[in-house]
């Protein structure tokens, strides 16, 4: 709340508003897979495996539903180092945001690499997921990726 200024009324006004999502059958299967420590993608019409999965082919608009397991390891295709993590960042120590193409996938997925220092990061490096102890069907079930 703003400090009261003499002669002026102030009041807190907190606007809170809940949302919930229906993820549908395709993303639903992806999130369910995470609870079993599996990462799944979908096979697009041109044969590419898209991870995370999408319900509709980005080239043709057709519905796609063939799920394919990928990973668990993969390759960093690009990255950005975060030297001073902020409060809501996924790790409390320096880390990399990275696009990671999991083995078998035709697209890269945004996640986090815990490599200790920027000097340990390299485009093309191999990484593997570190899983949460009790996965709950959420992308943060993968705590981060780490160098293989």
């Amino acid at each position: 709340m703003a400090a009261a200024i003499a002669g002026r009324l102030t009041a807190a006004h907190v606007l809170e508003y809940p949302y919930r999502r229906s993820v549908g059958p395709v993303l639903g299967a992806f999130f369910t897979g995470l609870t079993e420590r599996r990462v799944t993608g979908v096979k697009a019409r041109d044969g590419r495996i898209l991870v995370p999965p999408v319900e509709y082919d980005p080239d043709t608009g057709e519905a796609i539903s063939e799920m394919v397991e990928v990973g668990p390891g993969g390759v960093v295709t690009t990255w950005a180092w975060v030297e001073k993590p902020r409060r809501k960042h996924p790790l409390d120590r320096p880390f990399a945001w990275a696009l990671i193409r999991l083995d078998g996938a035709g697209s890269a997925m945004l996640h986090v690499v815990d490599a200790g220092s920027a000097a340990a990061m390299e485009t093309g490096m191999r990484v593997r997921p570190r899983w949460k102890d009790e996965p709950e069907g959420n992308i943060r079930d993968i705590v981060c990726f780490e160098p293989e």
Partner: protein, 385 residues
């Protein structure tokens, strides 16, 4: 001279309180796939996509048109988002029609939706500002005093709203896409339902729905190759006015009257009650039927309620209003206006099924939004204009 524009495909979802079986893209695709099947077209036939929904905060998916582009086959195609609050389903269709009228595109896909289960629009419209009297609880809290004003001005019988709700709910039972269906609905059931915002009873108000509506609009050349009979666009009009200004008549808003006048001029309508065969109008609370009858010129000022009381607006009346069951029966907010436009098109194509008005030649689709301040309307006809 504008190019002609026709509705060649219409699709809508099964509207329901919570469509948790589908994602947001999945909800839209249910409507789009049905519109494509109706039109006999596929993604390759679509030149542009025009999408509309109510404010983003209703679901908390910001700029959803970007996220939905792939699911709507819009990669590499023009995609346009329209924002006009509750009237958006109507104005989205009009923007899409303009792209065809202008000769820019052959076939335009237009889609509108709301997935109310992902948020809570009723309470989003109930912001309590410090040091101000809290007077509004949802849209009903805003509109109830306008209804009271209408009742006082017109001297309409107290049960006019009940009769509107009874008629719309009976019509809804004939529409397979309706969210709310009460098979044994009766006058007593509505009259006995709880008072929510006096004078609006529970059964005189619209539900919160998940749903989508899609249409394929086409040029004359493309309409000739359509799978089924098209509905030709005879005229479109949009008007807005500010929420507040001195002398504003919120019961019979100037923007609505002006919008209707422009629409009738464009479509060659001189007496709407005589010249039109049916209308799908935006009635989220029962009493808005008689109020809009006056605003739209179907009845003289102060006499709209007589049409309801005499049964003129029933499916077998001389001016059927909301044969589909209307917004009272399905209200995916952003889609609600487009459903009105699409249902008008189904009527003149002769494809409205059990709620078909026999021999409908010309029909009005109407949407309004905000505090009775945004209006969008079109007239579609069986005959090529």
């Amino acid at each position: 001279m504008a190019e002609r524009c026709a509705v060649i495909g219409v699709g809508q979802t099964k509207h329901d309180v919570k469509r948790t079986d589908v994602s947001l893209p999945g909800l839209l695709r249910e409507a789009v796939d049905r519109a494509f099947a109706d039109a006999g077209v596929g993604w390759r036939d679509i030149d542009a996509v025009v999408i509309g929904k109510a404010p983003d905060m209703f679901e908390g998916t910001m700029m959803p048109e970007l996220y939905l582009a792939d699911a709507l086959g819009a990669a590499g195609k023009p995609m346009l988002r329209v924002h006009t609050a509750g009237s958006v389903g109507g104005s989205t269709a009009i923007v899409a029609a303009q792209l065809v009228h202008a000769g820019i595109h052959e076939r335009v896909l237009t889609v509108a939706y709301e997935k109310q289960s992902e948020g809570n629009a009723m309470w989003a419209l109930t912001v309590r500002i410090p040091f101000q009297q809290a007077i509004v609880a949802g849209a009903g809290g805003y509109f109830a005093p306008l209804i009271r004003a209408y009742m006082r001005r017109s001297g309409a019988p107290e049960d006019t709203g009940i009769r509107v709700a009874l008629k719309d709910r009976q019509n809804a039972a004939k529409n397979p896409y309706s969210h709310l269906v009460f098979p044994d609905v009766s006058y007593e059931m509505i009259a006995g339902s709880p008072m929510l915002w006096d004078p609006i009873r529970y059964m005189e108000t619209c539900p919160s729905s998940d749903g989508a509506c899609a249409m394929v609009l086409a040029s004359e050349a493309a309409a000739k190759r359509a799978r089924q009979a098209p509905a030709w666009v005879h005229g479109t009009a949009m008007r807005s006015e500010p929420t507040m200004f001195a002398g504003r008549d919120q019961v019979n808003p100037r923007a609505g009257r002006d919008c209707a006048a422009e629409l009738y001029r464009k479509a060659g309508i001189t007496d709407p009650r005589r010249d039109l065969d049916c209308a799908e109008i935006y009635v989220p609370f029962s009493w808005f039927e008689p109020m809009w009858m006056e605003n739209l010129g179907f009845a003289p000022e102060g006499e709209g309620w007589k049409m309801t009381q005499e049964g003129a607006t029933a499916l077998d009346g001389d001016m059927p209003i909301n044969p589909s069951g209307g917004v009272l029966s399905s209200n995916p907010i952003g889609a609600s206006g487009m459903i009105r436009f699409a249902e008008a098109a189904l009527q003149v194509r002769g494809l409205a099924g059990e709620h078909q008005v026999p021999g409908a030649e010309r029909a009005l689709g109407h949407a309004y939004g905000g505090g009775s301040q945004f209006f969008a309307m079109w007239i579609v006809g069986r005959a090529r204009p």
